[in-house]
């Protein structure tokens, strides 16, 4: 297929099918647009790079991008999930065929809500320190796994159908080597979700108490005790997506979405002539644009078949952008930022951004961990010594 044929086909398809959707507010759980997403999936546009066996079209990177651009131009969601859908990618890469058949189509259509059951009270940055246990149910009793433990900071757990869970399956080997990766069904008696009130005054994340919950054998991803490897690819994925886009202000589609809107805010605030403000505004916009340029270069390098060290920089860059943008918004608003509520959307946006910026700088691994990763994996600097790296986990001190 030529590029032009791809473009024509996707445009024709969109013209015939895309009728728009009601305004969509960010949500966790089952995607309210799932009927549309299912159509996109069935037409092969959701994951154009994937094989035909798995809902794809086997398109090249460049052609897949043509598809994504056509969707973006029409304002239609759902294409390009082969780059953005963490859940589907992890499942496709590591799940058993039987489970993939069940879960991948549902994930591509957003028919199931998902959450990440990684962090525990005693294991955040040091995820290999998890103590949630998965114990094998004897084949005589039907097989599968029983899970017991406690997870925390779990975004979207309250509305999730499945959680990507890491649990310890071998306590007698060093900490990285006894972990397995599961898709845990959330809607069962052994799973109790308690919402946590966040600094943003929302409650998207939760504590999850797991007591003798059951996971069928088919829901083990990757090899038994090989979960650390699966987790690494899933985390790398999450981080690269977090550098690409981040949650905007609470006011949603109608509100400012960063970028040049900072300029609009400066104009509205009557401060576009203030030389100090101009410096600050220009710098924040510049960081955002530089991050986009970096991402574009990274994608070009990947498209040429080279690996790209730039890809790992996006999340760190995004943290700085979000924190600094919030600071400059506050600077522009001055005393107005003391207020909030629907009558003061600009203040609410600025304050929400200031708080929510931590979503990127802590969530998915803190900026400090990200710097360690860049230093070690990209720049090749020596690892930090870890005292418990070679000790059987049973003997590791808990913190």
């Amino acid at each position: 297929m030529t590029d032009d044929e791809v473009l024509r086909e996707v445009q024709d398809w969109l013209a015939a099918h895309w009728k728009g959707l009601p305004a969509h507010h960010e949500s966790f759980g089952r995607d309210p647009r799932s009927e549309w997403l299912a159509q996109v999936r069935d037409a092969g546009w959701a994951v154009p790079r994937w094989s035909r066996d798995w809902y794809g079209r086997e398109l090249s990177n460049d052609q897949a991008r043509i598809v994504e651009r056509a969707f973006a131009a029409a304002g239609a969601p759902g294409a390009g999930q082969d780059r953005s859908n963490l859940w589907a990618n992890t499942a496709l890469a590591h799940a058993t065929d039987a489970f993939k058949r069940v879960i991948v189509p549902q994930l591509l259509a957003g028919e199931v809500g998902m959450c990440l059951l990684y962090s525990e009270p005693g294991a955040g940055s040091d995820l290999a320190a998890i103590r949630t246990r998965a114990d094998k149910v004897p084949e005589s009793e039907g097989g599968g796994w029983r899970i017991t433990g406690q997870k925390v900071w779990t975004s979207g757990a309250a509305v999730a159908d499945y959680g990507m869970l890491i649990a310890r399956t071998d306590w007698d080997v060093p900490k990285h080597r006894g972990i397995s990766f599961f898709f845990l069904p959330m809607k069962q008696d052994g799973v109790e979700v308690r919402p946590l009130r966040q600094i943003t005054d929302e409650a998207h994340f939760n504590e999850v108490f797991i007591t003798d919950a059951f996971v069928p054998e088919a829901n083990l991803l990757g090899p038994l005790n090989g979960g650390w490897g699966v987790l690494q690819t899933a985390l790398a994925y999450e981080r690269s997506v977090m550098g690409d886009n981040a949650r905007g202000p609470r006011s949603g589609a109608g509100g400012p979405k960063g970028d040049h809107s900072l300029l609009g805010l400066a104009r509205e605030a009557g401060k576009l002539d203030d030389p100090v403000v101009r410096q600050e505004v220009a710098q924040v916009i510049a960081w955002r644009v530089l991050n986009k340029l970096n991402t574009r270069r990274a994608k070009a390098e990947l498209a040429q078949g080279n690996s790209s060290s730039i890809m790992s920089l996006g999340k760190l860059a995004m943290s700085r952008i979000l924190h600094e943008e919030a600071r400059v918004r506050t600077l522009l608003l001055g005393a107005e930022s003391l207020l909030e509520g629907p009558e003061h959307p600009r203040a609410e946006d600025a304050n929400f951004l200031a708080l929510n910026a931590y979503f990127t700088s802590i969530g998915g691994g803190t900026d400090q961990i990200q710097r360690n990763i860049i230093g070690e994996r990209v720049l090749g600097l020596p690892r930090e010594p870890e005292v418990d790296r070679t000790v059987p986990f049973r003997e590791v001190r808990a913190g």
Binding site: Q279, Q283, V289, R297, L316
Partner: protein, 349 residues
């Protein structure tokens, strides 16, 4: 303007890189910067044989007819090697002459036999001091910080309303410069001049100059980061490589973000120039301050990461810091460019 394929571009960069690795080693840089003129005709000849001074000069004038994209890539290599040669000067001069009727100078610039540089005079310039007035076909006054003027065969005048070629040799007073790898001088004009380009040509030349310098700054940033990372992996303290300490590792990670962002900015600006795009002004402004700031930050922190060894004259780190700090003041410093960036965005919004 010829457009090179991706492979040809890579081959060009590679051959320049190899030439510089061979002919512009640290020892060469030190020898040249300590010499009376700060210029090595043999190195310049070798670059000319490879077509570097004529890279952006049209083929009909003996150049390679390439554009800002290739120039920027070559300038990255010049930055890596800390090239002490009049490449930037000649490139800007050639850009000024490109559309005028003084094209007869171009073949000499292209083959390396004629060195030209540009005095930016008046409000359109970057010196902030010194002024040259061109009136009635005569120029009078002094331009400051003119790069490579002491070795130049011609010093062009770039003013707000156009470019001029002096018909008499101006008086050149070399300046004691902080960055000894890039010589500068005050140049006093006092006689007849010939108009060789219009105001648009001056603006185009300045854009090209800024992007070329941005590329050089990106190269400087990249090189010192490489140096520091290499050192951090080898140098041991407290029984560990210093690169395993987070204070050092995190600095390196932050510098990688700076250096890669600078490279992205410089290359993007070059592409916008080549395409003559409407976002050219914003892209050039962004590259100007992003690359200047990145080069200064990277060269500055590189010394910190090396410790005392880099405080010595014998270590190359200070040569890069000198280059970065000086380059950051050329063609206008970062605050000015940030302001221009915002103005360009306002105009686009």
């Amino acid at each position: 303007m010829t457009a090179l394929s991706h492979e040809d571009r890579a081959a060009l960069v590679d051959s320049v890189r190899r030439l510089l690795a061979d002919r512009c080693t640290e020892a060469d840089v030190r020898r040249i910067m300590d010499s009376e003129s700060g210029h090595d005709p043999a190195l310049w000849r070798a670059l000319a044989d490879m077509g570097v001074p004529g890279l952006t000069i049209a083929a009909e004038h003996g150049g390679a007819g390439l554009g800002p994209v290739e120039l920027e890539l070559v300038m990255e290599e010049a930055g890596v090697a800390l090239l002490p040669a009049p490449l930037l000067s000649c490139t800007i001069a050639a850009a000024l002459l490109a559309d005028g009727d003084a094209g007869d100078l171009l073949p000499g610039i292209a083959d390396g036999s004629f060195i030209a540089t540009v005095a930016f005079a008046g409000a359109g310039g970057w010196s902030g001091e010194g002024d040259v007035i061109v009136r009635g076909g005569r120029a009078t006054g002094t331009a400051r910080f003119v790069t490579d003027a002491a070795i130049a065969d011609a010093v062009l005048i770039a003013s707000d309303d156009g470019a001029y070629l002096p018909l008499h040799a101006p008086r050149v007073t070399p300046l004691p410069v902080f960055d000894r790898t890039r010589r500068m001088a005050d140049v006093t004009f006092y006689g007849e001049v010939r108009r060789v380009g219009d105001a648009a040509a001056v603006r185009r030349a300045l854009d090209l100059a800024v992007v070329a310098l941005a590329g050089e700054q990106a190269g400087v940033a990249r090189r010192v980061l490489e140096m520091s990372v290499g050192y951090a992996a080898e140098r041991h303290q407290f029984g560990r490589a210093i690169g395993s300490f987070q204070a050092v590792k995190h600095m390196a990670a932050d510098l990688l973000l700076e250096s890669e962002s600078a490279t992205s900015a410089a290359r993007d600006a070059a592409e916008h120039l080549a395409a003559g795009s409407g976002e050219r002004e914003a892209a050039v402004a962004l590259a100007a301050f992003a690359c200047a700031d990145a080069a200064v930050r990277c060269t500055k922190d590189a010394i910190q990461m090396h410790g005392g060894i880099a405080f010595t004259w014998a270590h190359p780190a200070h040569l890069y810091l000198r280059r970065a700090r000086s380059a950051a003041q050329m063609f206008g410093a970062s605050p000015l460019w940030r302001d221009r960036y915002l103005t360009a965005l306002e105009a686009m919004a």
